[in-house]
Amino acid sequence: MTAAIAMQPMIPQPHAVRDVVEETADTFTLTLQRRDGAPANLFEPGQFSMLWVFGVGELPISISGDPGQHDRLVYTVRSVGKATNALVSKKHGTDVGVRGPFGTGWPMHEARGHDLIIVAGGIGLAPLRPVIYHVLSHRKDYERLIVLYGARSPRELLYRKELAAWARQRDTQVLVTVDYGGLSWRHHVGVVTTLFKFARLRPAHSLAMVCGPEVMMRFVARDLESHGLGRDQIYLSMERNMKCGVGFCGHCQYGPHFICKEGPVFSYQRIAPLMEKYEL
């Protein structure tokens, strides 16, 4: 966290919308730049920001851009309600307030020298995209990169061109599956866990990073364990109702943890007992 953020975490910095890309029918990627021309606040892959849509509300959104690009912040947002709809409807040049980045990132340091197994479902690929950018720009620091991505249908896949480009990189395996594929779909059909048998896994030498709906992460973590990964080798990005972003308000409390401050990234070892509880 930068010094400025540490001192004034509740004050949004004015940013301008520089680009809006339609990823799917309801999901958009926004590029924001600071109004004052200063570099964007540095972030770690996996961190999130609170985005102010003035007059509507504030939203916690994971950063989905390249951590090596210091002049912008990029967010991928699914339009599911009033505030997200207002956010994705923003035109070029309009204002958005940004607080953050907040929370813990993916364990990029611990992952050095290891294979990385990225498992994403639906919009869960967004918080993992900075990891992929980071690995590809620091290729010597990491061994194999395995990206396993599932979505409901081909129409709901994010970053399709990038997925194809990543698959062409050395030591990188990208497998994509959908629940419902049309006849023109030439990749896999089935849930994301069915991809493990096609992945070139070296469990003892790997770290897994998983993001998607919680039920998906539960099944993925279970399967990763059955393939020989320890719980301490599996990291998940959790989501709750983040409000303040700094662990004051308690809205995102998850058992003894505040997701916004201690998370959103947790080791599975740390939160597995909580994930097994009903209605938490």
Binding site: G121, V191, F198, M216
Partner: protein, 152 residues
Amino acid sequence: MIENLERVIAECPFFAGLDHGFMDLVVGCATNVRFDTGTYIFKEGAAADTFYLLRSGKVAVETFLPNRRPIVISTLAEGEILGWSWLLPPYVWKFHAHAVQNVRAIALDGKCLRNKCEENHDLGYEILKRFVRIVEQRLDATRIQLLDLYAA
């Protein structure tokens, strides 16, 4: 050729750990096959007298609804087993299997293997154990798919 088939079958995880004598019985029912992209390997309603050990390529398991295009239920690829309707009466395929990439496979004559399993129940138990595992994995995947995992 038989020696090559035996090696390929022995390397398949599905047959891992199968007794050498049983392996000879399995190999006796096996042949190499190829299917070009776009070919239907089998179709719903046809006699199910074979199953396939996929060596390369990809197969879509499809079904269809009236007045609708076929729906792909799942895809199978290298190392996977295609087809278990040969194992149980009425020995009829319940789905289409469509090669969506060029496929190389070992075809195993289901009737031949069924007869050998009837004659040798130890072999039958070994084969059945392996198929139950496949059925369990696919039932598990189907149950998870029904949860509509990516909706939340």
